[in-house]
């Protein structure tokens, strides 16, 4: 097997098609989320009152979520290792662990959202508007948009991993798809790596 054999870079003529396609998609998604992040950063630099709003985010929940996603990234790469060895049972185990991490992530996010909505922080936060806190409502708009879009990508990634795993365990073929779906999952993780400190940590 080739654990430990690190070959030199190969020419792009030999990269498998699906992997090339998913990297192109990943580059495109980076620009989309990157755009949102750039706008968030600039607005953050402009409005100091956003710092106060950031304190109302649940840092502990965010920290746990980051741990969960990092771990899920580790699980999915172990699934890829198992796929290279064509070990369908191990693939199934690691992918299920990844999907469970996704579900925990979504659950914690749902809890956070519920809490924040009950405090009056929504997409347009009418309660804050009435208090005269206009600029702060924009913070929450960005918060829900960025984390919501990210959450949708978590769902999409988890579904992709599930269907790919199901196909592999049923047919015993198409192991290369595990890596492709895994790459998408890593992208979702990287986006959260950037979202977490920007939204939760910087006061």
């Amino acid at each position: 097997m080739n654990t430990g054999i690190l070959t030199t870079k190969i020419s792009w003529r030999e990269i498998p098609q699906a992997r090339l396609a998913i990297w192109a998609l990943i580059a495109g998604e980076f620009v989309i989320f990157g755009g949102l992040i750039v706008m968030y950063i600039l607005n953050r630099m402009k409005y100091e009152s956003w710092g106060e709003m950031a304190e109302h985010t649940n840092v502990i929940a965010g920290t746990v979520n980051t741990l969960v996603l990092l771990t899920s990234s580790y699980f999915v790469v172990k699934a890829h290792e198992a796929a290279v060895k064509k070990n369908a049972r191990a693939v199934k185990k690691w992918i299920w662990l990844t999907i469970m991490c996704a579900l925990i992530f979504l659950g914690i996010k749902a809890y956070e959202y519920t809490h924040e909505i009950m405090m009056g922080y929504t997409m347009s936060s009418p309660a804050l508007l009435e208090e005269g806190k206009h600029v702060e409502t924009l913070y929450w708009s960005f918060y829900y948009t960025m984390t919501g879009l990210h959450g949708l990508h978590v769902i999409a990634g988890a579904l992709a991993l599930y269907f790919v795993m199901r196909n592999v365990t049923r047919t015993g073929e198409n192991y290369h798809r595990i890596e492709v779906a895994g790459l998408y999952w890593h992208m979702v993780d990287i986006i959260w790596i950037f979202l977490f400190p920007l939204i939760y940590l910087i006061h």
């Binding site: 090339l20 396609a21 192109a24 989309i32 989320f33 706008m39 997409m123 347009s124 206009h134 600029v135």
Partner: protein, 566 residues
């Protein structure tokens, strides 16, 4: 070889995975859209020249109607016609066959891309029938006008009221279309990188394949922030968030930046494929190699990167930082250089060539002349922010962009269609009608667009439904210019029916082509049957050299197909 039966038209329309069928589907859908966009142009031009008259086939044009017509014309032509024809149609038809392979890398993804595109067309057309009418914010969709009077602090809190509006539907249509084009772009890129014929290195590819790929990549990167921004605008409309609401810390200028950050590279996205098509046609019909293959490539890549640094020249008078305006102005003027270089390379290709002035060549030469002399130079005018302060939002800008868009998008598309029709359908289009189409289009396009320069310099602004309220715009000869422009535009639109008739008639009843390679060209699609069989080639070609080996000394033929050894 292929053993499936020939399916009926509608079965093929919805389920065929073949890239040529999908290309045709895109083209027919785009013909539908362009008819609508062209009809709208006819209506509002008639209204501008003859304000009191009821426009035949439409009725009275109220100011609200006018706004809707102008907006929809712009959106349809820029987003559906230009992007669709030049990325989706050209890419689908040309890429697989010119690189010598059977189909795209992901045929099913290709099919799904078309369905998304069709969905976007349906949603866009549906937007005209919404309760509060079509969208009238201008094709640039600036908020707060595009948010409508139900976005910010309004009594319309009902979600259904907000959702079933043209504002939402147009944005959804755009989102669907961008998804289709992103999927298509990935497909094109992977196909070009992975499925080329044996022996076809990247530097031996026809220029048009390079151009479509560079355009797709540029599209992919520049559209990202706009996707985010469109999502934010949709939220503003439907949920009442304040991303672009100045009273809540948002900024309408943010939308302008996001839109033009995409909008400017977009015009290069739709410029590059026609430049590629022109490269093919010009070199074939000059019987000379394309001058400076690597030169053109490098310049195009430089221009693509530069195009990401010039966008705010659309916002010189919007209230941006004037120091930023200086920077954008400088980059805008610089970006004319790579394109000037490309056009010079084409002229060098023509120089002392044995020119064949057939129909595609006429379109190509017309395109180069009009684009460079009237479109490109006036771009330099507008790039200088000082002049732009005067000319912004006047008809001068309208004339400029019609002189850059029409010769490239429309003339380029027609050049391509007349050039490749015989190959992909196996039948010929009528030459007389084609020439008539060319001359009428050329003459009446200039008749329409040139007066607009003069009107713009006289101070006539865009997007104004009735010029009679301005005395200085009713002085002679300005109303006459408007009438000349309108009459030319109407004849221009009518001329396209000649093309439509020729195209549809020839599809079914045109004379069958006798020769697989009537233009005596080198690229791979001419080395297979007309129309190409399913899978494109009976035996897959091996490529020995580049596609521009014309007029090699010491040979009896003046061309050398790519799959022929010397």
């Amino acid at each position: 070889m292929s053993t499936h039966k020939q399916h009926g038209f509608w079965h093929r329309f919805f389920f065929s995975l073949d890239h040529k069928d999908i290309g045709l589907q895109y083209m027919l859908t785009i013909f539908l859209m362009v008819s609508i966009g062209g009809f709208f142009a006819y209506v509002f031009r008639m209204h501008l020249a003859f304000p009191d008259m009821e426009v035949p086939l439409y009725g009275t044009v109220t100011p609200k109607d006018y706004n809707m017509l102008v907006t929809s014309h712009g959106l349809i032509m820029m987003m559906w016609l230009a992007l669709g024809m030049l990325l989706a149609v050209a890419g689908n038809y040309l890429i697989p066959i010119m690189i010598g392979t059977d189909d795209m890398a992901f045929p099913k993804l290709n099919k799904i891309s078309y369905w998304f595109f069709l969905a976007s067309v349906i949603v866009m057309i549906a937007s005209f029938f919404m309760p509060r009418g079509g969208l009238g914010s201008g094709w640039t969709l600036y908020p707060p006008l595009s948010v409508g009077d139900f976005g910010y602090n309004t009594p319309y809190k009902n979600f259904a009221d907000r959702f079933f509006t043209a504002n939402t539907f147009v944005l959804l249509a755009l989102a669907l279309e961008f998804t289709a084009l992103l999927m298509g772009g990935i497909n094109f890129l992977v196909t070009t990188l992975n499925k080329r014929a044996k022996g076809m290195t990247l530097m031996k590819m026809p220029m048009v394949v390079w151009m479509i790929n560079i355009a797709s990549v540029l599209f992919m990167f520049s559209v990202g922030p706009l996707v985010a921004g469109t999502f934010m605008l949709l939220l503003d409309i439907n949920i009442g968030t304040g991303f672009y609401d100045a009273y809540r810390g948002g900024d309408p200028l943010l939308w302008e930046h996001l839109f033009w950050f995409f909008g400017h590279p977009e015009v290069y996205v739709i410029l590059l494929p026609p430049l590629g098509i022109l490269a093919e046609i010009i070199s074939v019909n000059s019987r000379k190699p394309l001058f400076g293959y690597k030169f053109i490539l490098v310049l195009t890549l430089i221009a693509a990167v530069l195009s990401l640094m010039v966008w705010a020249h659309h916002q010189f008078v919007a209230g941006i930082d004037p120091r930023a305006a200086t920077v954008f102005s400088i980059f805008t003027i610089i970006i004319s250089l790579p394109f000037a270089g490309v056009i010079l390379a084409y002229i060098a290709t023509l120089w002392k060539g044995k020119l064949r002035l057939n129909l595609p060549m006429k379109w190509a030469l017309g395109a180069v002349a009009l684009f460079t002399l009237l479109g490109g130079f006036t771009g330099l005018h507008l790039g200088a922010s000082v002049f732009d302060i005067y000319a912004h939002d006047t008809s001068f800008v309208v004339a400029h962009f019609h002189y850059t868009l029409f010769p490239t998008v429309i003339f380029g598309s027609f050049a391509g269609i007349y050039y490749w029709f015989g190959k992909f359908t196996g039948r010929e289009m009528n030459k007389f009608l084609g020439n008539l189409h060319f001359w009428l289009t050329f003459i009446f396009f200039n008749g329409f667009a040139f007066p607009l320069f003069l009107l713009g310099l006289a101070g006539q602004h865009r997007r104004i439904a009735d010029y009679r309220q301005f005395d200085f715009l009713m002085e002679d000869p300005l109303p006459l210019y408007r009438i000349i422009a309108t009459v030319s535009a109407v004849i221009l639109v009518l001329t396209q029916f000649i093309f439509l008739y020729n195209f549809i008639y020839s599809l079914k009843k045109g004379k069958k082509v006798q020769d697989d390679n009537p233009w005596e060209a080198n690229t791979l699609e001419w080395q297979t049957a007309s129309p190409p069989p399913h899978g494109n080639f009976e035996t897959y070609p091996v490529v020995y050299h580049g596609p521009y080996e014309y007029n090699l000394p010491g040979r009896d033929k003046d061309y050398l197909p790519q799959n022929e050894k010397i």
